[in-house]
């Protein structure tokens, strides 16, 4: 793992703001059970379509469910779903990329052909067909979208491994007697992991958008489970009268994805030293002074 370089600043302003926003959202969603004022599934037709009030922080939807509580619990579904997508793509994609990059030859060709087939489908279309065969629902949608993300991750891992494979430490490890498996997972992978992690954080953002799109079309989460995409779909009809039903989940999605993008941008520029400025003279003097002692 890359050690934190004293000359580089990780917590620049964009990173601080986006990280705090993300932490707030994640904590709010984790502690949804404590923060929510009502049960997200509790129907109450007498209170339907109300605006924001002291009882219902963001109003109610057409069946009287509290929007704020649905937002918090829906965040659980959406964020856990996005996490599931990334985990599936990691479990399948990274080993595929590692093996095809390290061993080359037939394995490489087969893996690249498979990724080409998956990429031949315009993004979510394969997920649509998958869901149409195996039924709608969160699990199937997560698996389908996870499979779609595998080629990207496999290609990235493969290109990183191709660069690392020719370095001397790999040759030295082989000479000492490490097995291929040990070299791949304990020598090469730790060096590639920082770049892969940046891509994974971006992927969580894209997964949120894709899962919201599938729930919006009714192909992912099934009602009455709350989910940001499904809430958008329900609120669409009431835009002129109660815009909050659709705007609340919508703005939350935008804020989350923008924060993720800014955060991963910050991590990327931290890991890439060419963006750093030279440290001030004072700092250099201090460091050189330390070395002299």
């Amino acid at each position: 793992m890359k050690k934190k370089n004293k000359l580089g600043k990780f917590f620049t302003l964009p990173v601080i703001i986006s990280l705090s926003v993300l932490i707030v959202i994640i904590l709010a969603v984790l502690f949804a059970a404590f923060l929510a004022t009502h049960d997200p599934l509790a129907l109450s037709m007498s209170e339907s379509l109300q605006g924001p009030s002291s009882a219902h922080l963001l109003g109610t939807d057409k069946t009287g469910r509290d929007i704020f509580s649905r937002l918090l619990f829906g965040g659980r579904t959406t964020l856990l779903g996005a996490l599931g997508v990334v985990i599936i793509s990691v479990i399948i994609g990274i080993p595929l990329g590692l093996f095809s990059g390290y061993f080359g030859g037939k394995v490489d060709m087969v893996t690249m052909r498979i990724s080409d087939m998956i990429v031949a489908f315009p993004s979510l279309l394969l997920a649509f067909v998958f869901v149409s065969s195996f039924g709608r629902g969160l699990m199937n949608a997560v698996v389908a979208v996870g499979i779609i993300y595998v080629p990207m991750l496999a290609k990235l891992t493969r290109s990183l491994v191709l660069v690392e494979k020719n370095k001397t430490y790999v040759e030295a490890s082989r000479a000492i007697g490490y097995s291929h498996f040990q070299i791949i997972f304990f020598q090469i992978l730790p060096n590639c992991i920082s770049t892969i992690l940046v891509q994974l954080t971006l992927d969580i953002g894209y997964a949120i958008l894709d899962l919201a799109a599938m729930s919006f079309l009714g192909l992912g989460i099934q009602p009455p489970t709350p989910d940001w995409g499904a809430m958008l779909e329900e609120g669409r009809i009431y835009l002129s009268t109660n815009p909050l039903i659709a705007l609340a989940p919508g703005i939350t999605i935008i804020i989350t994805v923008v924060a993720i993008n800014i955060f991963s941008d910050g991590v990327q520029s931290y890991l890439d030293p060419s963006h750093r400025k030279l440290p001030s003279v004072k700092k250099i003097r201090r460091l050189v002074g330390v070395a002299h002692e």
């Binding site: 031949a120 489908f121 993004s123 279309l125 998958f130 149409s132 919201a212 799109a213 079309l217």
Partner: protein
Amino acid sequence: MEYVKIHTIKPTATLSVGFFAFSRKISDAMSICRCIIKVIGGMYMVNFLFKRLGQFIIVLLVASVIIFILVRLSQVDPVSVILGGKQSSTETVANLRAKFGLDRPVIEQYFTWITGMLRGDFGFGYKYQQPVSELIAARIPITFGLVFIGSLTALILAIPMGVISALKQNSPIDTTLSMLALILGAAPSFLISIIMIMIVAKVAPSFPVTGNYSSFGEYLQRLSLPSLALTFSMLALASRVTRSGMIEQIQAPYVQTAKAKGVPLSRIITRHALKNAVIPLIAVISLQIGNMIVGAVLVENVFSLAGLGSLLVAGIKSSDYPIVQGITMLLVFIFLVISTLADIIYAVIDPRIRQSI
């Protein structure tokens, strides 16, 4: 080196001629094409074209097999979908099976489907009881119009945005444009459409947002807002790629020479740097068109447009497999055609690509 090159190219060229020589006419046409291509791009171009087109056909076939298998793996029995859940006698069931060709072996069903598609017959919808090709043909103008207008507008907007951001790097204009592109890219296309409907309803309530169109003018009106939503989704990545491409070009030696010569900056950009800067943009856009096709599906839902997307979603929800198969195959075909064309254009512009496939 030269010796080896000639000996690898000549056999390939000869093989390709021999392969198509089952009719003199076709082989003559092919020789003429080969001559033209050779003039344009040299022997590498001919080989590249053959390999790329071969790749296109293979991927198309494998994709069709994948779609077919995925659809056939479903648990839902097609006959129950056709019957609409009603009980009926075994005779009717058997008749329906024979009518829809469901009692034939699977491989034969696959070949019937493929050959049917080549003739333009996409099968019969289960629920709609109409030929799928009729259903599709009526809705093609909307979906293709959305994707076409959307990507065209994205190109027209992204290039100036990227160029201005690159010229005024790290200035307030650059940061604002990048922020704007970032936020627009983070918002899902259906969300932007919802917000746009809201704004338009407040600002210009008489604007026809939903409903059918009867003339070309109304067609453009109906499609303007949805294509704008699709444009925003592509704009983020496209302007970023143009910006970095432009920055790379500005730092190239030939630009410095031109500046030293005294060429005005505007002419350097429009006449020299721009052409090189948009080359990566072609590659990015050909991939993003896939996302735009899916975005069109979502946007059609919001704007209640009768396009391929809404038909596909309805087909999925009602387990109407010929529709799902047919539309997916069509969309995959269009996407593959576009990406192959983009690859070929890329190879024409940048000769280094011709050796890499």
